[in-house]
Symmetry: D2
């Protein structure tokens, strides 16, 4: 259980990379030794992220596996789809631990990946070796692993909100409807009309209805928990704010269970896991209440008129939905307390 670890970040000029830098800077056991960008190697990091001026003075490294192996013990991949599939095996072969924030290694089925991502999948070996790092649920498998597929932002909020009820058999998995909403940072730093300020500001839009690549990721995990195939209705919305994801989830309750009982079920399920906070009856979490932090807050409302439960789950998509959970997984891999370097208050207001 070494408490001294050198980390490299690939994709350091994107938002996931920037957040890894912010969070790792505050981590007591980790030192960032290389920030890497394929397209901008040689430039100072602060040229791309002026907010890091005099915080991280490094020059961006090129992507060179051998060089990384000499400088780092663990590599975080904050790269676009398709990169990790090719790169991860090489990094592993060089003796590095790998935590992949992209979606390349999350789906165990190569054909599912190719269907939803429209790209060639990673090797079967890589897919088999990778551990799906939903920390609070699959943390036992993360421990000791050297290749983590870090969950997507929507799946993190959604699965933490659904799994205890599915596992307990309190909701009928075939009735699950997920109405998800995200801030714009989830779209990354790449330019598009979809993320153009004057188009997004003061605007709420729905997109990729039933077509989002996070659907198979959610269904894969739910099916595993339910012990049978689960298909879901999943809608994503773009909300005019930078950070935050909310999943509002609906399902038919099986048996008679009150809101209070749901709250108690979840409190027990997440006992000792500091990053999941269950709200009391009549209170629902708001995205700003987790902003900048690694928390996932969840609230419940059972409706006796319809026999359905509504579950509201929120995270900061860049933290618990990406960089924060990645570091939480590193903590678990290394046998450190999972909250190491991550237990700070949200930024409010």
């Amino acid at each position: 259980m070494s408490q001294n670890m050198r980390a490299a970040i690939i994709g350091a000029t994107g938002y996931g990379g920037a957040e890894l830098i912010r969070l790792l800077q505050a981590h007591p056991y980790v030192q960032i030794t290389s920030v890497i960008s394929t397209s901008n190697a040689g430039a100072p990091l602060a040229e791309h992220f002026p907010h890091l001026q005099e915080v991280v003075v490094d020059i961006l490294d090129a992507l060179d596996v051998e060089l990384i192996a000499g400088k780092a013990d663990v590599v975080f991949l904050a790269t676009p789809a398709g990169v990790s599939a090719e790169l991860s095996p090489k990094l592993l072969a060089a003796g590095l631990k790998v935590i992949d924030i992209s979606g390349d290694l999350r789906l165990k089925s190569a054909s599912d990946y190719e269907k939803w991502y429209k790209k060639p999948a990673a090797s079967e070996e890589a897919l088999a070796r990778s551990i799906y790092g939903l920390s609070e649920v699959f943390g036992d498998e993360v421990k000791g692993s050297d290749l983590i597929a870090n969950p997507g932002c929507y799946p993190t909020a959604t699965l933490l909100g659904l799994i205890p009820a599915v596992k307990a058999g309190w909701i009928d998995p075939s009735t699950i409807i997920i109405d998800a909403k995200s801030g714009v940072s989830g779209a990354g730093r790449g330019l598009s009309l979809t993320a153009h300020y004057s188009e997004v500001n003061e605007n709420l839009s729905a997109y990729k209805i039933n077509k989002h690549q996070h659907i198979p990721e959610i269904e894969q995990a739910l099916s595993r928990i339910a012990g049978k195939p689960v298909v879901t209705t999943f809608t994503t919305h773009l909300v005019p704010m930078t950070r935050g994801i909310m999943s509002t989830m609906y399902a038919t309750v099986q048996g008679e269970h009150s809101t209070e009982e749901f709250i108690e079920l979840y409190r027990q399920f997440y006992e000792g896991r500091k990053f999941v906070r269950i709200r009391q009856q009549g209170k629902y979490p708001a995205t700003k209440e987790v902003m900048g932090s690694n928390f996932c807050d969840i609230g419940f409302a059972v409706d006796e008129r319809t026999g359905r439960v509504t579950i509201v789950s929120v995270i900061d998509n860049v933290v618990k939905g990406a960089a924060g959970q990645a570091i939480q997984n590193l903590n678990i891999m290394q046998g450190w307390d999972e909250t190491t370097g991550l237990l700070f208050a949200p930024v409010y207001p």
Copy 2:
């Protein structure tokens, strides 16, 4: 079919009142003859709304039924819950036509009103006399009426999105789930922490889950269309933007109907009604695309994997969800073309 009408606006210092003024100013057949505020009578309107300086130079009138009857032919009520229940009968008795933007006259059942609004209901006579003015659906009843209960903002977006499918029997009413989202102007101009900038900005929250007073209004209309009681799951969210409502609605499809067929069904249902625009396959409306206008835009996605349809409906809550539809109803009442004074393009971006 007089083309010259004098209008009074009660509640002129709220957002609904301000929008009535903006829209009526552009109406060729209507002249605003009195702007009324109980709490601010005697002050110039522009003191409360500087944007109206030199546009409407009027001094705010006190609320005096006799005075109104001498000045106006029609009265718009943009008042808090409870006011119209008492006031409308007096205005009618004075020979005025009344269009009520508040919720006081929408529920035919007095006990429903008292349960959801926690206030005494209007008289049975008033409730019986009032017409629920969802223009595109109940316009025939609006014609010739002198007391309109103008629909709520959430119900307008929701009902226009659901009624054609419910009427055609294409969706199972018992499976309807409504995930609604609103901009902050829906909360009005009254101060509250819920509408305090630093609390709402960069924040998405869920509120009043299954408890919103628009639920019985939606269910009353759906039940009437379905010919049997309908109960729904209804969640409201507050989105960090000023204007706009989106209802994302889910239901199980009855029979086999594709997205294209839903589109065609709705196009036929709304044929000749210019304010409802149906999107083509694969396109979903965004709130900004109706901003400042009286349009309601609707899109569809049938998912073969789950057998459900997702319907997305957007309006500007202050226009089609309040002042705009109120004027549309006036047009219909008077036998004018329903688009008179209202057929302008949304403000974009």
Copy 3:
């Protein structure tokens, strides 16, 4: 004074073009007969602007001077820098009237244009022929002209706020400092990191300090009014909102003049000009109070401690700062009332 005019819009897929369409749609004497886009000809306009679906059903025309001449009487150019310099002479030669929203024809000095715009200037003939259309100040020259250089957004707010005081000799032109702020729509619809939502939202930045291409435009007009060369300090800021410009202007008062006297001076200067509204003492205009409208609102504060006056001027950059003033100039050119089709209330909130 024909009251029937056919208009073509070049650059219809940008924000300036969209606003021209919105406003001309409401104009009683003008009919849009061609919407033109060099890059997207053949596509329906609504594909680029879904908010215009069923409002403007036209297919985008290619840019063909002869075709335009057959269809239109007046052409609005909402094009990037460099286009109008070449195109305007051809349109004039084809007998069309031209109103150019771009900056190509505003600077009388070709060398100034080339210095600040880094592009070849228009022909001397075109520069000589064009009239700088600051409607309230140079309207007499606009009348009867066939080539209008429509003022820039910053210059409009700034010049309307400064000219009466400069003309009266009440402020020392050599002390003028202009601190200007703009919403993001001023950057147009072209993609850039500067207009990327997650970069701009919740962010205030200064840019192009003393280097903005609107500086020579402002100085040219001020120098003309002052009768001697005027140089100014000019800073531009990007504000996280879509529409709106505010110029906060500072200058040393010459002679003794109180706030009240400034207010009176401006009220007299703009007497009868409905689009300029002067605020009373102690009140300053906010950008939202002119949103969506053609108003320019101005407020004043003379500080006896420092001997300076602070002048605050606001406009909607897309309306009075572009499309609205362009139509106001068309009205003036044609001898119509300058407010024709433009005198509607701002959208609030």
Copy 4:
């Protein structure tokens, strides 16, 4: 130099209080032992700030000097104007160190306080004893003090941007014009139409021109540095964002000094002070680049055409403009490194 300190926070249910809690939680030497609210004593803190649920589990204490003296070594006052004037002497008498975030103790002249704050001033003794804690400039006086008047948000950004140039005699103090802009959190958590979402969102407004209570605070410090009375022109604007202050400052350069020379002057002045970051030529800081952090970033542009320098200075008003600098002052008072617990990266995006 004890490295173990107990802190109490008075005014814990406001934004300043919440930020003190967030930051002190991450401080290695300080433990929060009491969170105090006069109006809400007895309630759990998380009831007022759900984002702190399970982070700070404390019940709000009532305001009781004796009780505080038993629990804490230092008290932070995040209270409205008027409270600290009365309370600070009692806390000092009880042996506590006091850091006052309010404006009560900043002005040495009681009559200035009463003129600008319209309230009775603190005792002359308290005013004499308090140290104005602009850390980078007056840190030597902070050391060893037990009563700190923590600078206001506008003065912090402004003074850090002006003092080196005034001290060096490079700018003429009589020409200083300060155009300041703030996010809405500066208005606090108290309800007002000014901070009502639908009024502020998509809106930029100017307020309190030449009347803001931070003017005498700025002038007091500048006069001290200049060695002669300095009066300034000062405008404040409200920007539609939650956090962030920018001061854009203008002055006539004395002597010949280029932008590069200004940059060098400031780099030397702030050498070793990690929280002030000077931008390179042609770059200006944006508020988001310091969001959530204790940095103050400054950029410069000398304009040869006008002989003026434009200085742009940004801070997070809640951190460097309030809670962050308060803790920085505690660090200095205690002889700890001033960056202790405060040297983390901004939250971006």
